[in-house]
């Protein structure tokens, strides 16, 4: 699904991403851990073809995402900090807008089904301005569902959600994986997401300090590794 | 190569000044102040050359994304504004004793002033964006629009002027084509172009070095 090799992103003399390589297959979820400022968002944006890397190669679903970003964009669903919602439109209208922009089918039935899947059908015709952060997040997930994304890129999807909300996102991701989709999940907290991850990677100072199957790691072992790796990086830098 | 260009330019300017003040005859009606034409006309021609290069650099960058094209556009833009300013000031100095006023809304001067404003805006835009890629892209769009707009401005101003006063007999458009004056003009134009080329390559080199640090 993703084949990234030696991705680099420098601003002037500052290397935000300094040689990141990894692969991810369909039905897999990669959790990307790292302290704030480690470059998680930058890496995610490069994967989303929003940012052009200074060097390196990126292939998504077999196609060169740097040479032909349009093709990759058709497959990718991004759920980032900004939820891509227009506050003065209703949930249903937002979905209709984004799905039309994707060139997809916006029949009433499809929109209603997507809203039902994220449990927003009750407020489908309310303006998004009245929604909570969690509801906006769910609307974002409905958007990527409707768009039939095969690769999900999530940037801190658990922020601002209560326990029920987090559980909900986890279940959503499980279902997504089961249907054959792949996901990269960037987070700085251990509070959520690790349950659904198949692999865990730690990003520090622009490099992947670790990339291991989640099954190999016990939770406190992961915690210790995280502390020691990020400390050594910060101490050295 | 650049050094040689620089010396050639200096040589050209020396010859040009000699031609303009020594060789070319004193103009019958306007007197010695007409000699400022040897500065004014080459300056505006060089400015047009500069803006043509801004267009080339802009298209080049959008097509290839190579920073060299953007450096060309930026350097040519700066020089273009400089030479346009020179054109306007020299035109104004020419105008004061000739028409009695520092400024007149005749077609040529007005078009040049509009050109000046468009490209000052171009430089202003460049100065306000830090990200080099965004700066190059946005500047390229303005550069293309500004250049393509030049003939449109030219015609609109010309027709607008035709509605108002007819051009005066002593207007700069009516220079006599005395061969000596023509030659002096040509020499100065070549000198200005050499000077422009020298400044351009120097400026681009500085920009390239700045980018590397």
């Amino acid at each position: 699904m993703i084949a990234a090799r030696e991705l680099r992103k420098t601003y002037g003399s500052n290397s935000v991403i300094d040689g990141v390589s990894f692969e991810l297959g369909p039905g897999q979820c990669l959790a990307l851990l790292g302290p704030n400022g480690a470059g998680k968002t930058t890496l995610l944006r490069i994967l989303a073809t929003l940012l052009r890397p200074t060097a390196g190669s990126l292939h998504i679903d077999g196609g060169d995402a740097l040479r032909e970003p349009e093709r990759a964009r058709g497959l990718i669903g991004m759920v980032a900090h900004g939820s891509y919602v227009y506050e003065d439109l209703t949930a249903r209208e937002n979905l209709r807008f984004w799905e039309t922009m994707r060139g997809g089918d916006t029949s009433a039935g499809r929109l209603a089904a997507a809203l039902a899947q994220v449990e927003l059908d009750g407020v489908a015709d309310e303006r998004v301005r009245t929604f909570s952060a969690g509801m906006k997040r769910r609307l974002g997930l409905a958007r990527v569902l409707l768009g039939q994304a095969r690769l999900l890129l999530l940037d801190e999807p658990f922020t601002g959600l209560d326990r029920r909300g987090r559980k909900w996102v986890n279940e959503f991701l499980q279902g997504f994986k089961a249907a054959g989709g792949a996901a990269v999940l960037a987070t700085h907290s251990f509070g959520g997401g690790l349950g659904v991850a198949d692999r865990v990677a730690i990003l520090g100072s622009g490099r992947l300090l670790m990339d291991r199957p989640a099954a190999d790691l016990a939770p406190d072992e992961l915690h210790r590794l995280y502390e020691s790796l990020t400390d050594s990086v910060e101490g050295g830098a | 190569m650049t050094r040689a260009l620089g010396w050639l330019a200096v040589l050209g300017l020396v010859v040009g000044i000699a031609a303009g003040f020594g060789y070319a005859p004193r103009e019958a009606i306007q007197g010695n102040v007409q000699r400022i034409m040897y500065l004014h006309v080459p300056a505006v021609l060089t400015a047009y050359l500069a803006f043509g290069l801004v267009l080339a650099g802009s298209i080049g960058y959008l097509a290839t994304r190579r920073p060299g094209w953007d450096r060309l556009a930026a350097a040519a833009g700066e020089l273009g504004v400089l030479f346009t300013g020179l054109t306007i000031v020299s035109g104004s100095i020419w105008g004061k004793p000739t028409w009695g006023t520092w400024w007149t809304w005749d077609a040529r001067l007005t078009s040049t002033a509009v050109l000046f404003m468009v490209y000052v805006g171009y430089l202003l835009l460049r100065s306000l964006i830090e990200d080099p890629d965004a700066r190059a892209r946005y500047a390229a769009v303005v550069g293309i629009l500004g250049a393509v707009n030049i003939p449109i401005v030219h015609f609109s101003v010309k027709w607008w002027r035709a509605l108002h006063q007819p051009s005066t007999i002593l207007g700069p458009e009516r220079s006599p084509i005395d061969p000596a004056i023509g030659l002096a003009l040509f020499v100065n134009w070549v000198a200005f172009t050499l000077l422009f080329a020298y400044f351009l390559s120097r400026r681009m080199e500085i920009a390239r070095l700045e980018e590397q640090t």
Partner: protein, 225 residues
């Protein structure tokens, strides 16, 4: 067909949001009213002096309102990273430009109609007799202003000193449009037939074609940021 759908949905979204939020319409309407008073105060009570200046004032008012309205074209996209969302959509991005251009033309036309009515009422100018040819001049001028305004608005939305840079970039480029529309309007208000201003109309039409084409071709490069 998807291209047309996308341009249309952008227009639909902007009009819908405008109708609900009513941000622009009310403020611009009030601004037009203010301008009328401003012009009157600046020119003094002499009826004839004002009447002679009407073509210029009409377009001056129009451009000032345009600077306010057009500059804000993409502000709605700044919330919630919608700009980024638009970047992620597949396909030809110029459809977005077209949709925004259409929306801006609608907005500017509304402003124009209001200005024309206000001028007619407050300055006692007969704008009804030459209404048809005047409408043509207005339409061509609107497209010219909106075509470049939409493009530059997209550019300046993310730049520092946006409110200053937008007019500084837009006004010099719009000089031909201003000259053409004012000259044509003046001729029409003096009772001259449409044939007399044909050259101005051709200039406007040509300029509009150039501006819209450049907008369509270069918008993707602007959106990318």
């Amino acid at each position: 067909m998807t291209y047309a759908r996308r341009a249309w949905i952008i227009l639909w979204k902007d009009l819908l949001i405008e109708r609900r939020a009513k941000e622009h319409a009310n403020a611009l309407l009030f601004f037009c009213l203010l301008l009328l008073f401003l012009f009157q105060f600046a020119l003094g009570p002499d009826r004839e002096r004002l009447a002679a200046a009407v073509p210029g004032l009409l377009w001056l008012g129009f451009i000032l309102a345009g600077l306010l309205g057009l500059g804000r074209s993409f502000l709605g996209e700044r919330d919630n990273d919608c700009w980024e969302g638009l970047r992620l959509t597949p396909g030809d991005k110029s459809a977005i430009y077209l949709g925004k251009l259409a929306g801006n033309c609608v907005l500017m036309t509304a402003v124009e109609i209001i200005l024309v009515i206000l001028f007619g009422v407050f300055y006692n100018v007969d704008l009804w007799t030459p209404a048809a040819p005047l409408a043509l001049v207005l339409a061509l001028g609107t497209i010219g202003l909106a075509a470049v305004g939409t493009l530059f608005a997209a550019m300046t939305t993310q730049v520092r000193a946006r409110e200053l840079l937008f007019p500084v970039l837009l006004l010099p480029v719009q000089v031909p449009v201003l000259l053409a529309t004012v000259s044509a309007t003046q001729a029409l208000l003096l009772g001259q037939p449409l044939a007399d201003v044909a050259h101005w109309l051709k200039l406007l039409a040509g300029a509009d074609l150039v501006y819209v084409t450049i907008g369509l071709l270069t918008f993707e490069f602007v959106l990318e940021g």
